[in-house]
């Protein structure tokens, strides 16, 4: 029997057909998803560094090391704090923008397109652009501040330990507020019009309408958007890489930057694997917790 006829028959047999369709995807995801994950766990129990290639079981030494690693906890703190700072700002600005564009307006499509642009460009380009913007001498930011303040300023945005995080925050908010904006715009336009009109006739105040009708309606969407953005912020890498490289010192090192440094600069392969496993474990726990909370709320 030739191969083509056996495939032909498989196509008609529902059972074989459905597995045939999903096989390539599962193969690719297993290869690039599951294999590295298993490899990662194995490596974290071995002792592979730049100088050593000890593949025997070494127990939990790398996991034990995690607890004493101040630089690791600092980078995790940076990541968490930055996420906690960026998310509310993005939500608030995104919501205000969505309100601005909710009703029809001339040139709305053009405005939305312009606002959309930052989200679709590469984070590397965004970071580079803001690094040039924030350049203390040739960048426009200091000029604008000087104009507003009425005196010359020389703020070292990408070097000064107190200014680097605000600078990165500006870049990140600039790039990702449009994402929140679009999602909230979609969610707000899906709020039932007749419900809003009914509330209007019932005489509800703006606040009452928002709390009782709008907020409950957009909450599920907002939750998913926040989850997506939070996961993005945890992997924050590109913008920091271009703007500060994690510096000054380790001042802007996020968990992703730190893990990269450990793996690809210091070749602490096994230790970086332990870090990676910790991150994956923590994220999984966090997401499951968040999803549970939502289910309970429903």
């Amino acid at each position: 029997m030739s191969q083509s006829t056996s495939i032909g028959r498989a196509l008609d047999d529902e059972r074989a057909f459905k597995y045939l369709l999903i096989a390539p995807a599962v193969f690719v995801i297993l290869l690039i998803g599951l294999y590295p994950f298993i490899k990662l766990i194995l490596t974290s129990f071995q002792n592979i560094t730049m100088f050593d290639d000890d593949r025997s079981f070494n127990g939990f030494i790398h996991y034990a090391r995690l607890f004493g690693d101040d630089r690791l906890w600092e980078s995790l703190l940076h990541t968490a704090a930055f996420t906690a700072a960026a998310l509310p700002i993005e939500i608030l600005l995104g919501y205000l923008l969505a309100l601005l564009f909710l009703d029809p307006m001339p040139l709305k499509r053009l405005f939305v397109a312009v606002i959309l642009l930052p989200t679709v460009i590469s984070p590397i380009v965004a970071g580079s652009t803001w690094r040039l913007m924030f350049d203390h001498r040739f960048g426009p930011i200091n000029q604008i501040i000087a104009f507003l303040a009425g005196e010359e300023v020389k703020l070292l945005w990408t070097v000064d330990p107190f200014l680097v995080w605000p600078a990165i925050l500006v870049a990140e908010v600039w790039q990702w507020t449009p994402f929140m904006f679009l999602i909230l715009l979609a969610a707000l336009s899906n709020v039932d019009r007749e419900q809003l009109e009914s509330a209007q006739i019932d005489g509800a105040s703006w606040l009452m309408t928002f709390r009782k009708i709008v907020l409950p309606a957009i909450t599920p969407v907002l939750f998913v958007a926040v989850l997506i953005r939070a996961l993005d912020l945890v992997r924050l890498f590109d913008v920091i890489w271009t703007m500060t490289g994690g510096g000054p010192g380790t001042r802007t090192e996020t968990i992703s930057i730190y893990a990269y440094q450990m793996a690809f600069r210091e070749f602490e392969i096994s230790y970086s694997s332990a870090i990676a496993f910790l991150v994956i474990f923590a994220l999984t726990a966090l997401v499951i917790f968040a999803l549970r909370r939502v289910e309970i709320a429903r």
Binding site: E194, S198, A199, Q200, I201, D202, A204, K212
Partner: protein
Amino acid sequence: MPNLQLRNVDKFYGGVHAVKDVSLEVPEGEFIVLVGPSGCGKSTLLRSIAGLEEISSGDIALGGRSIVDLPPRDRNIAMVFQSYALYPYLTVYENIAFGLRARKFSDGDIERQVKWASEMLAIGDYLQRYPRELSGGQRQRVAIGRAIVREADLFLLDEPLSNLDAKLRDGMREEIKRLHKQLKKTFIYVTHDQIEAMTLAERIVLLRDGIVEQQGAPLELFERPKNLFVAGFLGSPSMNFIEVELEEGGAALRLPDGQSLAWTGSLTLAPENGEFIWGVRPEHFSVASGESSDLEALIEVVQPTGSRTFGSFSLAGTHVVAELDARTEVAADRKIALNVDMERTACFDKLTGEAF
């Protein structure tokens, strides 16, 4: 007395003239139905009264006071929406209480009012449920409950029954009429369904293309339609229109297929050259019992409904439906003799469509 007055109301949507110079006087306590085909401007008119649409020109007054510059909340009206617009994240109780809470009623008053409304509508058992847990009919009651708890001057209902199935609709229709009797408030009801209009209204306002075609008591519109459109819109199955010619002397009508029948009706205004459109309602045909009959027809399709039987035939190229007694034997593809209740037929001008 809060009677409602609409004076020369116009509404444009961009270039579309949706409501054209509509004037209307609604005394307090009347049940008025705005009816017409979709796009006739009836919903726009209702939403303008509610304040959800801004009118382009004209005036709307409630109790002698213009309300066009008032936001919806200050007009003291209640409205039932087509989709019911129940707030999905609030219980039935809170849905009904919503308008009272917005107006800062005390908890005691709210409880009393909600109890009163829920008893009136027999929804007391569902107060702690959410809208999604209710059937269509129950949601409909909640929507009505939410409207009646507030002491509104005016009740606006926008196609409230169109999302219900036929059986429920019949029941709710009766209930709405009973509610109106108890509340003694002004109801303005929008529908595209002529049966709802006929059964509910004290006065029907029939709209087409933003213009009031005719208004009056339901039977008045039914019996004396002003034009072809009104005649065709009310009644189901609708009135049959046949082109006829009045024979010289005015004693007989000649149909295009050559049949002629004795004319006993009267025409106050004789049409030129004797041609006009003759309107006969299906129920004004009957099977001829004796020797004499008005016309003969070949029945093509028979639709018995139990109480009445509809027979369709074509008369000189026009499709005609006759509503016949269910107990008379009528079979398809048979010629039968029919009588026409001449006194109750209508005559319309061939060119303008106006009734003579």
